[in-house]
């Protein structure tokens, strides 16, 4: 018996080692690799940004930088970084999700990360708009049309998705303005959520539900996601509806200090995020339908991005920390509303 076990173990280990050897070669040569852990809709954006930055870095430093990308719901990604996903940079949908990393593991990320880059470390902004089917058959013009009976609304779950939380708060802002009180806002959002047949976990999941699976009359989503869906699925199939009021979304970026220290990538990671603020990257950002910070680039793309009445998280909701605790924490407003709808 002892012989058998030893032989088997050795054979298995050899097999495993041989196979692991085959799959090696992760880090290409003398170059440097950055892991960018991002939220859902930025896949196309960072594909371009990464190529642009790699060219710059190669020209300036003679070093090849390659990228590994991970995309998913913003809250989920934040959680993964806290649980040990070794991101060099976190580029998430809202500052709260990056704050959560710093709160859980201060050694991993400096809690004062927002002050390290211009514009509160948010290199671009976006907002929340509606996407409807061609010809707008349900005649959806503004938020109040979403709570009409028979209108099916697609939006992701704010517990897991970053975009979903922006959607929720934009709806709340409308309800509060229209009804004049917090109670009216809650009433409005309850009616809205009652019209939601599918709660996906992230923004991209909702988009495919609406666009690919043909479920729902209106998709509440990022402006960039709405533009992209239009572009990818062919012009004329969908229309963007800009509501009377929405929210200024500021997706944020940070170097994850603990991980770059471990990987020796601090310098290149910092340069990567600073590159996002250059006119060149800002142009890429605008072309991917995110609202650029650079005023000159913004002026060039003024026709793409209509001006609308935007509330902000800091002024109108007391910052993400307060908003998260009130609306999205366990037992918070969203849970209360959701429990009522299910009954």
């Amino acid at each position: 018996m002892p012989i058998s076990r030893r032989n088997l173990t050795i054979a298995m280990l050899l097999g495993a080692v041989a196979l692991t050897g085959c799959s090696g070669g992760k880090a290409p040569g003398d170059g440097v690799v950055l892991l960018n852990v991002s939220y859902d809709p930025t896949r196309e954006l960072y594909k371009e940004i990464n190529a642009g930055f790699a060219n710059h870095w190669k020209a300036d430093h003679g070093q090849t930088v390659s990228f590994k990308m991970s995309h998913g719901g913003s809250g989920k990604q934040s959680r993964a970084i806290q649980d040990g996903l070794e991101a060099d940079v976190a580029t998430l949908a809202l500052s709260y999700d990056i704050d959560a990393i710093a709160a859980a593991k201060p050694g991993l990320l400096d809690p004062a990360w927002r002050q390290r880059l211009p514009d509160n470390s948010a290199p671009y902004t976006s907002t929340i708009v509606f996407l409807v089917r061609k010809g707008n058959p349900k005649n959806i013009r503004d938020w109040n049309d979403l709570v009409k009976p028979g209108v099916k609304v697609i939006t992701p779950n704010p517990k897991t998705g970053g975009g979903a939380r922006w959607n929720f708060l934009a709806a709340w802002a409308y309800g509060r303005k229209a009804g004049g009180s917090e109670a009216a806002a809650q009433d409005y959002v309850s009616k809205l959520l009652a019209n939601v047949p599918v709660l996906d976990s992230g923004a991209r999941g909702s988009t495919t539900t609406f666009v690919e699976r043909n479920i729902g009359d209106v998709l509440i989503t990022w402006e960039n996601e709405a533009f992209l869906a239009q572009k990818e699925m062919g012009a004329g199939k969908f229309e963007i509806v800009v509501p009377s009021i929405s929210i200024l979304a500021e997706p944020s970026v940070a170097v994850v200090d603990g991980n770059v220290k471990k990987h020796g990538t601090a310098e290149v990671a910092k340069a990567y995020l600073e590159y996002l603020y250059t006119p060149e990257a800002q142009d890429v950002i605008a072309r991917n339908f995110y609202r650029p910070r650079d005023p000159q680039v913004a002026a060039r793309y003024a026709a793409t991005f209509p001006t609308l009445n935007l509330v902000t998280i800091d002024k109108d909701f007391g910052g993400w920390k307060a908003a998260q605790a009130k609306y999205f924490a366990d037992g918070g407003v969203f849970d209360t509303i959701f429990a009522k709808i299910k009954r």
């Binding site: 852990v37 859902d40 590994k68 649980d83």
Partner: protein, 279 residues
């Protein structure tokens, strides 16, 4: 005299047949056809491009690697467990049998989360692992562990009824003739169970390669590095890259078809129906 089973009217039989076939066509055949139709929607060139794309190749390689580690591990465990349970009497035997079934009754997502709670940076063993620079979660080891967990029961479940039915006569005869433990296993036990074992391995492998939930939780979804084929399919689909998504999915579907054929061959070979009342 007609017996009860054939006494239904023709109409009833036709209706039952139609329901069965309709169900088969709608829920099994159609999706399979859709996968291949979508994969080939852009022509054979686009199909091949999608499969030889570096991230797709990395996903295929990782899937094979994970299966190549977790299947042998579960063969060893499955044989050992079935051997212990059917050839020996010891206290706690029924508890062991129950525990072997645990992965079947636990949701795969929960299986994945167990490993995050154990090995994640904030988990029980997280600080120790970080100190020694060992990465388990969001890397290949975590994905292998999660896969081993969800495929745990396949081999053992296949062997236990088979070996229980065969009893210990052959082994006792071998031992009484002076064979060592290893000889007994190799010459008496293994030949008796080989078809059942192959069958279990086949099911185990199919699940190992197709597992989504548990692996998704511990993967971290890094393109080209910690995406197995099922995860890569989801990513491609979410990127509006439908042809590529279905091309990779078609490989998984092919795997399923090959498994099905091999399974039928094995059933024919080791006379599944003669296996007893274990199933």
């Amino acid at each position: 005299m007609r017996n009860g089973a054939t006494s239904e009217s023709r109409l009833a039989r036709a209706v039952i047949m139609a329901i069965g076939l309709g169900f088969f066509g709608l829920f099994l055949l159609m999706p399979l056809l859709v996968v291949f139709a979508q994969a080939l929607a852009g022509g054979i060139g686009a199909y091949l491009d999608a499969i030889v794309e570096p991230d797709a190749l990395a996903a295929i390689r990782l899937t094979l690697l994970v299966a190549a580690i977790s299947v042998p591990a579960n063969i060893v465990f499955g044989i050992a467990a079935a051997w212990a349970i059917t050839k020996f009497d010891f206290p706690g035997k029924s508890i062991l049998i129950t525990f072997i079934d645990l992965p079947f009754s636990v949701s795969p997502v929960v299986s994945g989360l167990i490993y995050v709670l154990l090995f994640g940076a904030q988990g029980w063993l997280g600080p120790w692992l970080a100190e020694h620079d060992i990465q388990i979660i969001f890397a290949v080891p975590g994905m292998v562990l999660a896969t081993i967990f969800v495929t745990f029961p396949f081999v053992a479940r296949e062997l236990i009824p088979l070996m229980a039915e065969q009893g210990r006569d052959d082994e006792e005869a071998a031992l009484s003739l002076g064979a060592t433990g290893w000889q007994t296993f190799w010459h008496a036990t293994l030949p008796n169970i080989r078809w059942g074992l192959l069958y279990g391995v086949l099911l185990c492998n199919a699940r190992a390669m197709g597992e989504f939930g548990a692996v998704s939780v511990v993967s971290g979804h890094i393109r080209g590095e910690t995406n197995t084929m099922p995860l890569h399919v989801e990513i491609l689909y979410n990127e509006y890259n439908f042809i590529a998504a279905f091309a990779v999915a078609s490989l998984l579907a092919l795997l399923a078809l090959v498994t099905l054929v091999l399974k039928s061959l094995l059933e024919w070979r080791y006379d599944y129906h003669g296996k007893g009342t274990g199933h």
